[in-house]
């Protein structure tokens, strides 16, 4: 009975977790590649964030990532 319950729980969990997973196909990434999705689209905001980060951590930089979210190449 314990095994049955475990299997049931495992199956239910798998269904719940997998239902939340959605692969965004390469040709569907137009929205992700949009300018408004960029973290650095507001220069003033980035400057303020950098200032706060530098004041707290005594370090700066390392925020950039390659690409614009479209996953191209």
């Amino acid at each position: 009975m314990k095994t049955k319950g475990g299997l049931f729980l495992l199956g239910t969990l798998a269904m719940l977790i997998l239902a939340g997973c959605q692969n965004v196909k390469p040709w569907q990434r137009g929205t992700l590649a949009d300018y408004t999705m960029r973290g650095d689209r507001d220069p003033l905001g980035v400057t303020l964030d950098e200032h706060i980060y530098f004041s707290r951590e005594m370090a700066s930089g390392g925020r950039g990532v390659g690409g614009g979210g479209c996953g191209c190449n």
Binding site: F8, M15, C21, N23, K25, P26, W27, G30, G71, C72
Partner: protein, 168 residues
């Protein structure tokens, strides 16, 4: 109860496999018949027996933009020898494609993969990245696949591959 539990577990396993599996069209496979898809825009009419390059692109894809002048150059260079380039657009809005094409003038065929019946070529081919380019021989077999565009290196490969197919 036991049966139900087993079914739940097996369903979860199947779903996991389906999520991680990738199909994708490989070298040697038959490229889908373009005539069986409804595109916005017209396909070139004389594809039989020709070397066809099908390029999947979108206006938001930076490498696609870089690849367009190269594709245009290839089309002009090999046009008389039997090469046809078809760029298949994957933009959500036609206006985005039109805007891109106004800024990037090209001589090869462009169609938009936006069939009213929802049957999209890109889903059938299942490309792994944007852009993706398939070089197809006269028999409709995929001979070369390019995922992404790496500038001069990719251009050189395109030329070598097209020439190798034209010699046959």
């Amino acid at each position: 109860m036991q049966l139900l539990a087993k079914r739940f577990a097996s369903f979860g396993l199947m779903a996991a496999i389906a999520t991680t599996a990738t199909a994708g069209l490989k070298v040697g496979g038959d490229f889908p018949n373009l005539a069986s898809f409804q595109f916005e825009g017209e396909l070139p009419s004389n594809l039989a027996g020709k070397i066809v390059m099908v390029d999947f692109w979108a206006s938001w894809c930076a490498p696609c933009k870089k690849s367009f002048p190269v594709l245009d150059e290839l089309q002009k260079k090999f046009e008389g020898q039997g090469l046809i380039i078809i760029a298949v657009n994957e933009d959500q809005k036609k206006s985005e494609m039109d805007h891109f094409l106004q800024e990037n003038k090209i001589s090869f065929a462009v169609v938009r993969d936006a069939a009213p019946d929802g049957k999209k070529l890109v889903e059938k081919v299942d490309v792994s990245t944007m852009p993706s380019t398939f070089i197809i021989d006269g028999a409709g077999k995929v001979r070369f696949v390019h995922n992404g565009f790496q500038g001069a290196d990719t251009k050189k490969q395109y030329e070598q591959e097209i020439e190798s197919l034209l010699k046959k």
